[in-house]
């Protein structure tokens, strides 16, 4: 399969990149970081932009920087493998490392970037197919068509957000920086996502995700990420649960649970936090977490396994992860 024709832009810094986005906005520019999500989709003609802007050359976005008192700042072009290899992340933000290590495969993590993983296109078996294949189902609402096959007759797109790292970052209350010709703004990661399958992000056509911030307050949480997969490697999550917990003595001081792979956006299970703070972790508390997580999950027939099973696994994984993230001993900070 060949790629559709396009012109290649290779900015060296954020300013140039923004300039390109602005200049070619009408013709259409597709930002390409690692390319592991975009290029296969372009072969399938899900995207046929006039310009592809390869931003890997922007060196200012490739750092992992510890900012004392504030936390950690990650450039959006940090390779997933660099996060995996970072001792600092492993020690202080273990849930992120766990999640990143489940992404695709080692070789794809050498290519894929954190920013790219957060900006992943939403996925659906009726969408991530070749042009020829999509023709045979009459296309779908997300691309070239006007109906949804997973919710028959539906007019809303239910394609699923399928990034692993976002769930972990939601648990860490990560923030992101978005650069635009008007300047830079910083928003909670959660605010990036719309939960609409075919319009997944609040990222303007002339904007770039530049940085990810891990607050220092989130450091030291014990964390667990569990991914539902049929193969041990080279895949997107069929469901994913991230849990980050901080304890004081035996009591849970703070807890965050996020899910991915089952909705058009990664979602924080906010009720789980309320349900756990001030309590001890036990079988019952873990089960409550599971129930609450499952309540947020709205899987449909977008992927290989049945929606009911995937929702069930959100419940089971959340329960198991909550327990695993809360070892009976003292927590990391004690």
């Amino acid at each position: 399969m060949s790629l559709p024709s396009f012109k290649l832009l290779r900015p060296r810094n954020v300013e140039d990149a923004l300039g390109f986005l602005h200049r070619y906005e009408k013709e259409g520019v597709q930002i390409c970081a690692g390319g592991t999500d975009l290029l296969p989709s372009m072969k399938q003609r899900l995207f046929s932009p006039a310009y592809v802007m390869d931003i890997r050359g922007i060196e200012e976005l490739t750092h992992i920087r510890v900012v004392p008192g504030l936390g950690v700042e990650l450039g959006s072009l940090v390779k997933l493998s660099a996060i995996e290899d970072s001792g600092f992340i492993a020690t202080h933000y273990p849930v992120l490392r766990e999640a990143v290590m489940t992404v695709a495969s080692p070789i794809l993590r050498n290519m894929g970037t954190l920013g790219g993983n957060l900006c992943l296109d939403t996925r659906c078996l009726w969408y991530n197919q070749s042009l020829q294949w999509r023709k045979s189902c009459g296309y779908c609402i997300k691309k070239d068509g006007d109906l949804c096959h997973v919710a028959p007759g539906g007019k809303v797109c239910w394609a699923v957000f399928s990034g692993d790292s976002a769930a972990a970052l939601l648990c860490l209350h990560a923030e992101i920086e978005i650069a635009s010709p008007k300047g830079r703004r910083r928003i909670p990661l959660a605010d990036l996502y719309t939960n609409i399958g075919d319009d997944r992000m609040r990222l303007g056509k002339s904007e770039i995700l530049t940085r990810i911030f891990l607050p220092e307050a989130s450091a030291g949480y014990s964390g667990v990420y569990r991914k539902l997969r049929l193969r041990g490697s080279i895949d997107y999550p069929l469901a994913g649960v991230a849990v980050a917990i901080r304890k004081k003595g035996k009591i849970i001081d703070d807890a965050r649970v996020a899910i991915t792979g089952v909705n058009p956006a990664p979602r924080l299970v906010k009720d789980a936090t309320h349900a756990l703070i001030g309590r001890e972790m036990n079988e019952h508390a873990a089960m409550v977490v599971g129930e609450l997580a499952a309540r947020v999950a709205k899987p449909l027939t977008t992927s290989l396994l049945t929606p009911e099973y995937r929702r069930e696994m959100i419940k089971v994984f959340a329960k198991q992860s909550a327990s695993r993230a809360t070892p009976s001993g003292p927590s990391i900070r004690d």
Binding site: M1, L125, Q129, S136, V150, P152, L304, Y309
Partner: protein, 857 residues
């Protein structure tokens, strides 16, 4: 020291360096001046009449050379003589989503892809059939007009007296088993490069040359001849390196014919390489299968009768279907001693890609059902799964009730090996005692077998199935010309080993020229695990033929009887004297022969040897040179045809199943089942395989592990996910062939039963071990959880659904309400049902109905 110099020694595949360095060429690696690229337009509809194809716009695109359509080559073909139902490109109808409609030939891939979008095709949609049991009810709108009720073929076999057998039984178990559809997913996508030579005498189109990723170059030559109306002698098929087959390249795949037709029309070399999606549409994999199985045993565990009704969802074309449905019945025999067998097999056409032959062809899904049911029976009569299998062993040499001749039979030893190595009884007891959280562990045992080639070839004749020629070079080099198709299993290496062993020369002397219809004599192909047995035997005979001439000359030189000439390791010596390598005085000889470089120095060598007078030993090279002195050219030829008494019973369909020899396998699987998630982890597999004699142990091990591993994929995670004829996962990303992460350790035991007719006693090694692992996993899951899964693959949702059921917990609803412990029908993917099983007409309620239809046209 073993009896053999080369046989039985682990040898690197002789083409392995080409593979590890990138030097070896596969078809898609080839190119030639003026070569064009072909791209195929596929049907978006599962069943439709083609009203009109208008390629005008496509032809006008700059860079497009021609557009090929069905009427350019309307002759029908198919791998089986009874199944000629395919054309290069659709002539009147399309029969599945992905069927071949037209082919664009252009100067580049991207231009060809663009041109595909410009071809205007008008279809008249027809009702389509996606479920075999539904398809069988059809009275009209048949997929092929000559196949009433969409039944490609049905067989009803009765051997012995099944009624009486069941009457004698103390326990009977009956159940429906359903196996999902799997495919080969060989790493190399199919590719074909075709071009015509111009004839010097006529100035017109001359010979056709086709290089293709195929397991069956001679069949390809034959079918090209049919479709292109060209004598086989005018067609040369060359098989470059092939990146895996597993049966997926064991018949003629559409692109192979299309490329040749396109080369003719474009008057230029054309290469077509499938995208991965096209590979999935070309398919020819293992069909979804419904097995209604009934088995009876006596209290002592002995089998009294088996009745099987098998329905295969064969897809839109016959392919190997008739053979598949026959194997499914025939291979109920030859593993255990079953006195009475009833078999009803239905190969059904549906509007889906054609199924064909896949590793373990025909036996795998039925074996899953049988070995599962055997454990159910054992439980019912309170017997250990190990004991019930031991109780029902064959007593060879024998002929089974359905006419299969069994001579060598290593199954008992296979079972003993894996039971001992896995510490079967103790480990099972231990697992019953201790649980680890939500995870239960269990062991499962199962057996399987496979043919070492079919005793009857597809095109019935008494001609040999394999012929091999050998040429001895003037410097003692040995060139073996074999039609055997190495597809990665190592047949070139096998041929080299056998030739070297027989000739008593070193492997370094052997050059193998393989699978080129111009150069190599006929071998019917690499399928049904026939190559080692049949081509190996032919190689042996060819080598013996050449050896005879060398020995005659050596005997004359050494002044001894021919029977007293020994050859090994590049030495030739007289019986009764010390082998040359044990002598102290060989230095001089080695020097003379060791430095002779081919024919230029041959004369002087000859002179020198003459001057030296008679000897009682010589080098291989000297012997070969002497043979040429006496006999002129030294060559050998050998052929193999299976013996008449191995060719099976005379009943209708009795030609499929018989084999000159069967391989045997027994396996124990150690699996953990998470009762909260349904995830199954296979920790270890002990696999014993009886391959007669292991000619190359490292290759045999590789084949056994590969089979077991591929079976694990089918057992746990691989399946075609269907929605109304749409394949939902046509790619490597979503078709989950296992990665290194979940692939367990496979401990192999090679059992050598030494077959009386196999080359050096060898039988097949590449397929027989696949089938056992699926029921072994099912049996291990039962051992761990008490839950019997009768629907494969055992994906976590199926497992959890079953566990919830036996534990009486909240139900997990599966699609179509199929209960994997008692499946009643085939399962489809959820989602929009706009085909409604009645053809591609959008459902009336479907809001996208009108715009979508207009877009298609």
């Amino acid at each position: 020291m073993s009896d053999f110099a080369i046989i039985g020694k682990p040898v690197a595949l002789i083409d392995s360096a080409g593979k590890t360095t990138g030097q070896g060429k596969y078809t898609d690696d080839l190119s030639m001046p003026g070569m064009l690229i072909g791209k195929i337009l596929h049907s978006p509809l599962p069943h439709a009449r083609i009203k009109r194809i208008n390629p005008t716009k496509a032809v006008k695109l700059e860079g497009v050379v021609s557009v090929v359509v069905g009427t350019d080559a309307p002759n029908k073909y198919g791998i089986l003589p009874v199944g000629h139902d395919e054309t290069a490109l659709a002539v009147d109808k399309v029969r599945y989503v992905g069927d071949n409609v037209a082919c664009v030939v252009a100067t580049s891939e991207s231009i060809a892809e663009q041109a595909l979008e410009l071809i205007d095709v008008e279809y008249e949609p027809l009702p389509a059939y996606f479920d075999p049991e539904e398809a069988m009810k059809a009275e009209s709108d048949l997929i092929h007009d000559h196949r009433p009720h969409n039944i490609e073929k049905e067989y009803h076999h009765v051997f012995g007296d099944p009624g009486a057998g069941f009457a004698q039984a103390d326990a009977i178990v009956e159940g429906r088993y359903v196996a999902g559809e799997v495919t080969h997913a060989a790493m190399e996508p199919h590719s074909t490069l075709a071009y015509f030579e111009l004839d010097a005498l006529t100035g017109e189109e001359g010979r056709l040359v086709v290089q293709s990723s195929t397991q069956v170059p001679y069949y390809l030559q034959h079918k090209l001849s049919i479709v292109l109306d060209k004598p086989m002698a005018q067609i040369r098929v060359i098989k470059p390196l092939v990146g895996g087959g597993f049966g997926g390249k064991s018949e003629i795949i559409p692109l192979e014919i299309i490329a040749a037709v396109a080369a003719r029309k474009a008057k230029a070399p054309v290469k077509i390489t499938y995208t991965r999606e096209e590979v999935f549409w070309a398919h020819r994999g293992r069909p979804r299968t419904i097995i209604d199985l009934k088995t009876g045993v006596k209290r002592d565990g002995s089998l009294t009768a088996v009745a099987a009704k098998v329905i295969q969802d064969g897809g839109a074309y016959c392919s190997y279907g008739v053979v598949t449905i026959l194997y499914s019945g025939a291979l109920l025999g030859a593993l255990y001693d079953i006195p009475n067998i009833q078999y009803d097999g239905f190969r059904v056409l549906t509007n889906k890609p054609a199924c064909g032959a896949m590793r373990g062809h025909g036996t795998v899904n039925v074996r899953f059902a049988f070995e599962s049911q055997l454990d159910e029976l054992a439980l019912k009569i309170g017997m250990d799964p190990y004991d019930i299998r031991k109780r029902n062993l064959l007593k060879p040499p024998c002929v089974t009730v359905n006419g299969l001749r069994v001579q060598s039979y290593g199954l008992p030893e296979c079972i003993e090996k894996v039971v001992k190595a896995s510490d079967w009884a103790a480990r099972r007891a231990e697992y019953k005692q201790k649980y680890n959280g939500t995870v239960r562990r269990g062991l499962g045992l199962a057996c399987s077998h496979y043919v070492s080639g079919a005793a009857n070839s597809i095109i019935r004749s008494d001609m040999p199935h394999s012929t091999v020629n050998i040429k001895i070079e003037r410097d003692g080099g040995v060139v073996v010309y074999t039609g055997a198709s190495d597809i990665g299993q190592g047949s070139d290496t096998m041929v080299a080993q056998i030739a070297a062993e027989v000739l008593g020369c070193t492997l370094g002397r052997i050059k193998v020229i393989a699978a080129d219809t111009d150069l190599t004599p006929v071998d019917i192909g690499s399928y049904s695990s026939r190559v080692t047995f049949m081509n190996g035997n032919a190689t042996m005979r060819a080598a013996e033929d050449a050896k005879k001439k060398i020995i005659a000359a050596a005997a004359r030189k050494m002044q001894c009887f021919e029977a007293d000439v020994l050859m090994r390791d590049d030495w030739v010596w007289k019986q009764g004297t010390k082998p040359p390598w044990e002598r102290t005085t060989t230095a001089g000889i080695a020097e003379v022969s060791g430095h002779v470089d081919g024919q230029v120095l041959r004369g002087s060598l000859q002179q020198k040897r003459k001057d030296e007078g008679p000897k009682d030993f010589m080098t291989f090279e000297e012997a070969a040179v002497s043979a040429m002195d006496f006999a002129g050219a030294v060559s050998g030829t050998g052929a193999y045809a299976p013996p008449k008494d191995a060719r099976g019973g005379g009943h209708k369909g009795g030609g499929v199943g018989p084999s000159p020899a069967y391989s045997y396998s027994a396996q124990v699987v150690d699996a953990g089942v998470d009762t909260e998630t349904g995830e199954v982890t296979v920790h270890k597999v002990w696999a014993a395989h009886d391959c007669g004699r292991a000619l190359n142990p490292v290759a045999v091990e590789g084949q056994v592990i590969g089979s077991v591993w591929m079976g694990l994929g089918q057992a746990l995670q691989e399946e075609f996910v269907w929605k109304d004829g749409l394949l939902m996962n046509p790619g490597m990303l979503e078709y989950k062939s296992p990665s290194a992460v979940e692939s367990p350790e496979v401990v192999t035991f090679i059992v050598e039963s030494i077959d009386p007719e196999g080359p050096f006693g060898a039988k097949e090694a590449s397929e027989g071990s696949l089938a056992a692992v699926i029921p072994a996993v099912a049996n291990a899951i039962f051992d761990a959880t008490g839950m019997r899964l009768r629907e494969s693959p055992f994906t976590p949702e199926r497992v959890l659904s079953g566990i919830r059921k036996v534990m009486g917990l909240k139900k997990i609803n599966m699609t179509n309400d199929v209960d994997p412990t008692e499946p009643h029908t085939l399962r489809e993917h959820g989602g929009s049902l706009w085909f409604k099983g009645k053809g591609p007409q959008r459902h009336e309620m479907d809001p996208a109905r009108k715009p979508a239809l207009s877009r298609e046209q």
